[in-house]
Symmetry: C2
DNA sequence: CTCAGTGCAAAGGATTTGCATGCCG
DNA sequence: CGGCATGCAAATCCTTTGCACTGAG
């Protein structure tokens, strides 16, 4: 569908900007991330596509991250998690299960987001810290683990 | 001073509850964390106390974490960071430098905290997710790296 | 005397890197 | 053709674990 076309078109152009190719493996990884719709670990990502070597997957995700297509997040020890860059999916936050580690996305009202931004801007004001973005995670126990 | 006495008294009793002793090494670690006043990595923690073996430090911090005296946080790959449990230092958030990795504490108004809690409670309502606590991080570049 | 705490060395686990090969452009 | 992507294996890095020893109660 159109959304996916846009996604791949964007990925292509961002990779090209970095003089990188949008290979089948990379496209498959982006597809898998889009389908997942939440940050996934490397084992989860390769569960289906077990043909791609682990090292290649890591290398491809690193390339995609440098190009701004993929974002890597670290929520705990164990495995890092990968998701599509926020400007492709929209600003969101993470619901983290402390038991199984599962991570899901959620969004808050733009009103609360604005309050947050204002409050955070005020906090760093005059400290020399240059704020880039904020992260708001909700940690608890998911339905399956509860 | 009194605050430190309280801290060590609390640590002692929490360890005792777990049938663990408050050894000199453990006390030194708690002191170092209190002095740091922000989440520190293992290398930072042992910079001064280089007499304690790395494995012992990890073991002691694990004991202190189980007892609820210390909290371990993971902000990136590389090193985990350790800080005193939040009920000893008060609820706070983290200012993270994406360049050098340094982490500092900050607090927001209790009014904003309340708005956050309300909004987050509404989000998980009826999802089966049982919320434990939230995390709000501000990511950017610190004064030294800017 | 006993057992928990310690140090040292080795193991573990996720991720990265070196190198030879194959394929796309 | 030339260079980049890939696979495999080895290396890295933080952290954990095994084991023998020692010191506190």
């Amino acid at each position: 569908m159109a959304g996916d076309d846009d996604l791949h078109a964007t990925a292509t152009s961002r990779l090209r900007r970095d003089q990188q190719r949008y290979t089948a493996s990379r496209r498959a990884l982006v597809d898998a991330l889009a389908v997942a719709g939440r940050p996934v670990t490397m084992p989860e990502l390769l569960r289906d596509r077990s043909d791609l070597a682990l090292s290649s997957a890591y290398r491809n995700l690193a390339v995609l991250e440098r190009a701004g297509v993929v974002q890597r997040i670290v929520t705990s020890d164990e495995h890092a998690r990968f998701e599509l860059a926020e400007d492709l999916t929209g600003h969101h936050h993470h619901l983290i299960c402390g038991s199984c580690g599962r991570v899901d996305d959620f969004r808050v009202s733009s009103q609360l987001e604005r309050s947050l931004e204002v409050a955070l801007a005020r906090i760093v004001e005059g400290t020399g810290f240059r704020a880039d973005h904020h992260r708001l995670d909700l940690v608890g126990t998911c339905a399956d683990c509860g």
